[in-house]
């Protein structure tokens, strides 16, 4: 059965198109990823699917309910973890959970049980009676995730679920997300700009850039599309490397940021030839590496740009800061 069906969904802010005619279909039980850089339109797309934002045009069905007209059915089917904080800081962690449980009409012995279980999962059980305003950014994040899981929705939206979390907590959550999906059959749609996260969790990934889906497939198939392996050569003279490598006409090379990338099948069989060409032409090279393509390469392949620039970590920290310090 189809859990989510999206057709030509579009959101315009004035003349700016934040989400541009996206269409996809997600079968029940799938983990589906929306991967894209900042400002790609991921949050806008999720907000429309969660009935928080009216689309400019297009249609979508969640669990058989239309987001325009069947809002109540949609809301009963979904859970969502927002990218930005949505906790009540004047309440304790437990009270935030309890409020949520009551809103979703979870009857009491069960509600207390689930709250205890989830708070233990995100390792906040020791702090459950502290006010949220005394929590760090990562603790708030964990609490929000626990809250989104409380009512066991059929479809779960996770908007950048692990942004700003330390690697250990991130791993924990990944495992839990996988378990939820496997054991409870919850369909999950998550947005991320961590390649690793999309790769590890998602059955299929849509790559979204400037509001448009530029590629959609299983991570393996997307990497396949890049064309075999990736050879990366760093050199003080990348232009010379590129021309030496492409001279014979058989290979295609892309220059990016002081490196030259070559996509080809069975790279190990060609590496000697490449080295020979470089030294034959007297072109200097600092290092040569062969690896399997990542989603990063996929993004570069489809958009001609790199997703992860050197300021990404800085920006994440900024966003965590804004999230917790917003007054």
């Amino acid at each position: 059965m189809t859990a989510i069906y999206v057709e030509n969904l579009t959101k315009m802010y004035g003349s700016f198109t934040a989400v541009d005619r996206i269409s996809f279909e997600i079968p029940e039980g799938e983990i589906f990823g929306l991967l894209g850089p900042n400002g790609a339109g991921k949050t806008t797309a999720i907000s429309m699917l969660a009935t928080l934002l009216k689309p400019t045009s297009g249609a979508a069905m969640i669990n058989g309910h239309s987001i325009a007209g069947g809002e109540d059915g949609v809301r009963r089917s979904i859970g969502i973890v927002f990218q930005d904080q949505s906790l009540d800081e004047e309440l304790t962690a437990f009270e935030n959970m309890d409020f949520h449980g009551r809103l979703y009409r979870i009857p009491n012995p069960l509600r207390q049980e689930k709250i205890a279980e989830l708070l233990a999962l995100v390792e906040l059980d020791g702090r459950q009676h502290d006010l949220v305003k005394t929590f760090s950014g990562g603790m708030r994040r964990r609490l929000e995730i626990a809250r989104g899981l409380l009512h066991r929705p059929k479809v779960l939206f996770l908007d950048e679920p692990t942004l700003g979390l330390d690697p250990q907590t991130r791993n924990h959550l990944w495992e839990y997300i996988e378990r939820l999906n496997r054991e409870a059959g919850i369909t999950i749609i998550l947005t991320t700009h961590y390649m690793e996260e999309a790769d590890r969790l998602c059955d299929r990934v849509a790559i979204i850039d400037h509001g448009r889906i530029v590629a959609l497939d299983a991570p393996g198939a997307l990497k396949e599309a890049v064309g075999g392996d990736v050879i990366t050569i760093t050199s003080p003279d990348p232009a010379a490397v590129a021309s030496a490598v492409t001279a014979a006409g058989a290979l295609r090379a892309e220059q990016y940021d002081g490196t030259v990338r070559i996509n080809l099948q069975h790279a190990e069989r060609h590496i000697m030839e490449i080295v020979a060409r470089l030294s034959g032409n007297g072109v200097p090279a600092d290092s040569i590496s062969i690896r399997k393509p990542t989603l990063e390469d996929v993004f570069l392949h489809f958009t001609g740009r790199s997703m992860r620039d050197e300021t990404a970590d800085e920006r994440d920290r900024m966003r965590m800061y804004q999230r917790t310090a917003r007054r």
């Binding site: 969660a50 009935t51 928080l52 934002l53 109540d72 809301r75 009963r76 979904i78 969502i80 927002f82 930005d84 904080q85 949505s86 906790l87 009540d88 800081e89 004047e90 309440l91 009270e95 409020f99 949520h100 009551r102 809103l103 979703y104 009409r105 917003r326 007054r327």
Partner: protein
């Protein structure tokens, strides 16, 4: 019903937890009560009743603190919006009506608590309650004022983007509503051009209702006061519900 209770519970918990807000909103009414009350008590006597000015003033000040607390409680949903919490309630499978009612009743409850605190403090400066029934009547009127003006605050907040408009609303809507009501002056001694404005001010009927409850006499028939205030509460609740339905997170 559960949902309304849930939202109500959150409002009340937040209120009871913020000591600074409780004390902060008590400040101005207490200031009025003490300075106007003691300052004018000896030189003003209210025609007709012969009671002192302080006794006359208490119902007005109680109404004032209910008014301010409830408008503020309603406008608070702007904060929920800015802190992102509003999304949590709006995406839940509950109707806007339930959210709005819970918020309104929560605001009215906190406003009544503020009003009762003023009332209790007034006992120390010489107020005497006529009867338990009278106190209950006063409490009913406080609740009606609280419901009306929390809903009014929600209606305004639904149209506001952020808290910047708050001062504007206080200065050009809430203060005039307070000033024009019969809270500080007896209606009968107003100049004739002002009397119609006072009679058009819904708070006037709340003040007179509380006054009837506390002292047993009022210048407007308490039944009329109740009728007008119930109608006003229903109207603001409808307006609040209508506008809140269109509010986006």
């Amino acid at each position: 019903m559960d949902i309304i209770y849930t939202i109500w519970l959150r409002s009340v918990k937040r209120y009871l937890r913020s000591k600074s807000r409780i004390i902060g909103t008590l400040g101005m009414p207490l200031f009025f009560l003490l300075f106007l009350g003691f300052g004018l008590n000896s030189i003003v006597s209210i025609p007709g009743t012969g009671e002192g000015y302080t006794a006359f003033l208490v119902p007005g000040i109680v109404a004032m603190s209910v008014l301010f607390t409830s408008v503020f409680a309603g406008i608070q949903i702007i904060w929920d919006k800015q802190f992102g919490f509003l999304k949590e309630t709006l995406v839940a499978p509950v109707s806007r009506m339930e959210i709005m009612l819970g918020q309104t009743l929560g605001g009215a409850t906190t406003a009544c608590i503020q009003g009762v605190i003023i009332l209790v403090l007034s006992l120390f400066i010489g107020l005497t309650l006529s009867s338990a029934a009278g106190f209950l009547i006063a409490l009913c009127f406080m609740a009606l004022i609280g419901i009306s003006f929390t809903a009014f605050g929600i209606a305004i907040a639904s149209r506001m983007e952020d808290m910047h408009g708050f001062q504007l609303v206080m200065n050009f809507v809430v203060f005039p509503i307070f000033g024009l009501s019969g809270a500080l002056f007896p209606i009968s001694s107003l100049p004739s051009w002002l009397a119609p404005l006072t009679m058009a001010d819904p708070l006037t009927y709340g003040v007179e209702g509380i006054r009837y409850g506390l002292s047993g006499t009022s210048q407007i028939d308490p039944l009329l006061c109740g009728g007008v205030l119930i109608a006003f509460a229903a109207a603001t609740a409808l307006a609040g519900a209508f506008l809140f339905r269109k509010m986006s997170a």
